[in-house]
Symmetry: none
Subunit: 190 residues, 4 copies
DNA sequence: GGATAATCGAGACGGTACGTCGAGTCTTTCC
DNA sequence: GGAAAGACTCGACGTACCGTCTCGATTATCC
């Protein structure tokens, strides 16, 4: 009997969050401002989301996520694949929205580590999984040493990307090359 | 001619910042709370520091900084040296204060990228320099490939440490081992 | 649609103002103190009143006002009537609250002449009107000279009362007698 | 042996007070502003004056005081004399500085009745004395009834002037005429 | 002609209040 | 019952003056 939650409202709040994120940065976003921007009452926001961070999480889940949208290619050439993928990620972080989103994710995590960890799991998890899978394929093909921990490696890429986003200093071609080069040699089969 | 600035007050504010950081996290720190904790008037804080972040910066410059206090050893064994250093850094981030400080640094950077970059330069810079120096020594000794960019490598370590601090998931022995292992093989001479 | 303004809060702020006025005097009244005393948030006060003076004005409009409560009697004896009325006014100013209110009115006026003039119009106006009316009646009865400006006369009484309130030196019987005596003779019909 | 108090400084503070009074009104005057304006240190002000009001008092004692500078004329015509004097007083209150000074006096009194009473005694006293003297002369000449209390009468004039200053509505020719007319008839000998 | 002692400028300092902002919660009315 | 509108409490913001407190640096006097 009760009136169902309005999907339109939900979308307009998430959209407002995405816009605000790019425009002012996560810390500067206020629930009040979001409500005004989305033409929704504060109460409605508080009814459906427990925190600003939760809105961010939902907004990211539904919007384009830099990195998430970049699946690791799987040609026969591991080196070229990683290079291509990492380049795509860097390009994503070079876009204003991509940078804003990544930073927002970092900001949330410093404020609420538990939630941050959950969000991270949600977003970085699949990315890491993609890399691990690609490495495993390469290992099966004999291109990668048997004792390499693919998880550690995936995290290394993610850490570098995250750090560069934090500093707002996206990696250029050369640095991508250098990072991939070092790591690849580190894991290449004897 | 006027009464000189009180060094005692300065120290007590910085100490209050360090205590608050460990106890509540950077975002939860309040100028008002700081003033109360340091038994100093708000006005005095506003007179000498332009922002919460500036206090943090100064507090870090004068207090123990995790990582900064850990110089890279320089024995004949590059592998052992990096392992020892990175272990020390990880241990620093496993301490509550070390973790709090690192997270605070990250939080500041998301809120004010320019200032964050400056602080980062100030703190991460010397650390990176230490690593670069160690690598160069190793290169001179023929242990490292000539074409390796030591700067990229240093940043890789810092990025990993930073990312782990962000997630509050300090590296254990095995992960340190894995990271150093991969990187080392990646740069090892022929 | 929104929740309506709370009348209870409004009353409790006005009451706090009246209490504070009598206890400490207008200048010593603080918005912060008012909020605490009325158990209301500062924000709520700022939402509804633009200034301390505005609260005072409203408080007076609704509370007992010395002088306002004393209508000019209208027996056949003009002299007795004015004497009785002016005695009542003096008695009002001899009460602590009456004195506090009168002084507050004066204090507001020195700080914000425009507002003060408005308040004065609001409070002194009706009083003056009462006197003017009584004089006109007397004039019709042939007790007062035709050329007397009743307005000037009314203001003379009010000015004396105001001045005595300012100095906190309420008029005693004899002075009331003297003032009324002089004025009455001055206006008596030939 | 010690260096004596600087008269120059004293004067410059008093001058600053007079200027500030006319420019912003008594309540808006701050010790800090006074110090800046007079190019004197706060400490020096606090050394020599216990309060803002004390500075005002001293400034008035030495500066031109409206009314104080207007002695009651003493020709043979009491009516003309009072008219002339009260006109002069009204004119003084019509000047910006005169008005500012009178209002400042009133403001001080509402804030600190005791000090206000003292200042009033100091300033209004001589004026009242002048009127009383003139009335007494007139009485001796048989122009004024024997039973008239000259003090009450003097205060009546002062009260009217004060009230008009408070409201910032200086008396014009006609009102001066009306006030003096009523009072004079009220005290005229049989 | 120094020594000396209070004056003075500058401004640091602990307070108190200012007026504003946003976080969350609550209440009313409309749909 | 969902939603808009906005009243309400709370806590922090950054600012302005208050009155007190050091600090040199600067004079007048008096030996």
């Amino acid at each position: 009997m009760p009136r169902p939650r309005s999907e339109k409202i939900r979308q307009s709040v998430l959209a407002a969050m995405r816009r605000a994120l790019a425009a002012e940065g996560y810390e500067a976003v206020t629930i009040e401002g979001l409500a005004a921007e989305a033409e929704v009452s504060k109460q409605t926001i508080y009814r459906w989301w427990p925190s600003k961070a939760a809105i961010l999480g939902e907004a990211l889940l539904e919007g384009a996520l830099p990195g998430a949208a970049d699946p690791v290619p799987a040609t026969a050439d591991l080196s070229a694949d990683l290079r291509a993928w990492f380049t795509a990620v860097s390009d994503g972080l070079a876009q204003p929205e991509g940078l804003a989103v990544a930073r927002a994710l970092i900001a949330v995590t410093t404020a609420d580590p538990a939630l941050g960890a959950a969000l991270n799991e949600r977003f970085a998890g699949p990315i890491a999984a993609g890399i691990v899978e690609r490495i495993d394929t390469a290992r099966a093909a004999g291109d990668v040493r048997a004792d390499v921990d693919a998880t550690v490696l995936a995290e290394q890429f993610i850490a570098v990307a995250s750090y560069e986003a934090l500093l707002g200093r996206p990696l250029d071609r050369d640095r991508v090359e250098a990072v991939v080069g070092i790591v690849l040699r580190g894991i290449a089969a004897g």
